[in-house]
Point group: C2
Chain length 288, copies 2
């Protein structure tokens, strides 16, 4: 497994793999890899492609009061895991590589003056709570697409809105990249795997199962014939309230393509939620 | 020479050329080809590359009161010229191909919900006069880069700010594309070749030489030791006023990298101007 730190070197390495007739699958991550990422890597390999994993905590997708600086980083463990999973290349650039300081630099010194922004799917949910988040995501993913030129890029369904935004962006901008999604991997008690789970105290970890319980409640009620979104959302909120450390950000049942709120819940709609458990903000979702 | 109208087909054709070991040079145009475009095609061929010329009047870079609908279109003549110049592929997509109507569509039916925008170099000059213009340019060029995946893209210096914006965009977004510029081609009387010259009445055409005269005036004064930007700009304005059909939009002496106004003109700065001749708006520039 190769570890590459420089943009130019990664570009050359990926171009060489493609010239040698290999397809390339990209798994973009922020590191602190877990079983969810492993599922992405395995799906990438299933495509018979050379697997490139990017590990980069992208500063431009964090808000000023968010967890950029405390976000878990452990490149050594991440590389060990990638090695076990037969990853071909790990791309772990520095901020200076990804956002060279220069004419377009802001006070922090790292900046770009060019942004990629999706304007339809990013207005609500995470986009509404985290201004600038998806602009940062789209910009860094566009850069990774231009560096790796993958045939396939693999994203997890856990970040459902991100998945939809990236699919839209890839289509709108004519990227010749197939954006593939992988089902959320969960712990045995239902908690969705997330690097941010590392923030949870033992007590918070125990209560964090309430996200999955709320989604399961909605699923059960829906399967039992309840299609009224207000009642489904209320049932989710009541379930969340069973955890004393939980503080609701949003629950919503939305159309999977437009991410607009569903008036009446239908099979194939998605239930999404964002909840603080203590100081940790977690998100999850489930297709009804 | 191949003429391709569909995005997917162009993507495949370009990928095949690259798989066969050829470099690909892209010349993005809006058609109505003239000697300036010929110079771009020849430069593209000089790179030893397969030459792809895109011909597309991109609606998203025109303002609501601009000349989108009257912009000259003559695909047959354009293709004949490309054939003479040994172009390998002409890509002439429809609006529906480039901006498929769909979820992100606006009232006009053609839209994208993803945009590429450069924010530093586009504030002034053309960007200031034509809101949204460079957002449209960056977005369509990003799409063309993703469709063609060129090794080289060739742009004319006549659209100086556009050249700088595209170079910045390509760098910021890590496109593995060398953005090459070609000197402005001029008629024998100095008028810069432009598709919009076709709008000029014989009288307006005669008076349009005043743009070049104004730039030459600035160059002569500068070479004679005049470095005061105010005096250089005033001299250009006085020259422009010699043409009764001319109406000034802007003249400016700017730094070539930042496009910020020069305080004191220096060798290598650029004099830029935009002038209406009758109903036709023309731009031109000259490096001092």
């Amino acid at each position: 497994m190769k570890l590459i730190r420089a943009v130019r070197e990664m570009q050359t390495a990926c171009a060489e793999m493609k010239r040698a007739g290999r397809r390339v699958a990209l798994v973009p991550t922020m590191g602190a890899l877990h079983e969810g990422h492993v599922a992405l890597m395995r799906r990438a390999r299933d495509h018979g492609a050379a697997v490139a994993v990017s590990i980069y905590v992208n500063p431009t997708q964090f808000g000023p009061r968010e967890d950029l600086h405390q976000y878990p980083r452990d490149l050594e463990a991440d590389c060990a895991l990638c090695g076990q999973e037969f990853v071909d290349v790990v791309f772990a650039p520095s901020d200076e590589e990804m956002y060279p300081s220069g004419t377009g630099a802001d006070e922090a010194g790292f900046q770009t003056s060019t942004w990629v922004e999706e304007l339809a799917l990013t207005k609500r949910l995470e986009g509404n709570r985290r201004p600038g988040h998806f602009r940062g995501v789209c910009t860094v993913v566009a850069k990774l697409f231009n560096i790796v030129a993958p045939n396939v890029a693999v994203f997890g369904q856990k970040d459902f809105q991100q998945l939809k935004v990236i699919q839209r962006m890839a289509g709108d901008l004519c990227y010749p990249v197939e954006v593939v999604s992988v089902s959320t991997v969960r712990e045995s008690d239902g908690l969705a795997c997330s690097s941010r789970n590392r923030y949870l105290s033992p007590e918070a970890r125990a209560q964090a199962t309430v996200l999955w319980k709320a989604l399961s409640t909605a699923q059960d009620l829906f399967n039992g014939g309840e299609h009224n979104t207000h009642r489904l959302e209320t049932a989710m909120i009541r379930t969340l309230q069973l955890a004393p450390m939980s503080r609701l950000d949003y629950v919503e049942i939305a159309n999977v393509e437009t991410l607009e709120p569903a008036v009446e819940a239908r099979r194939g709609d998605v239930a999404l939620l964002a909840v603080h458990i203590g100081k940790t903000r977690l998100i999850d979702n489930l297709i009804l």
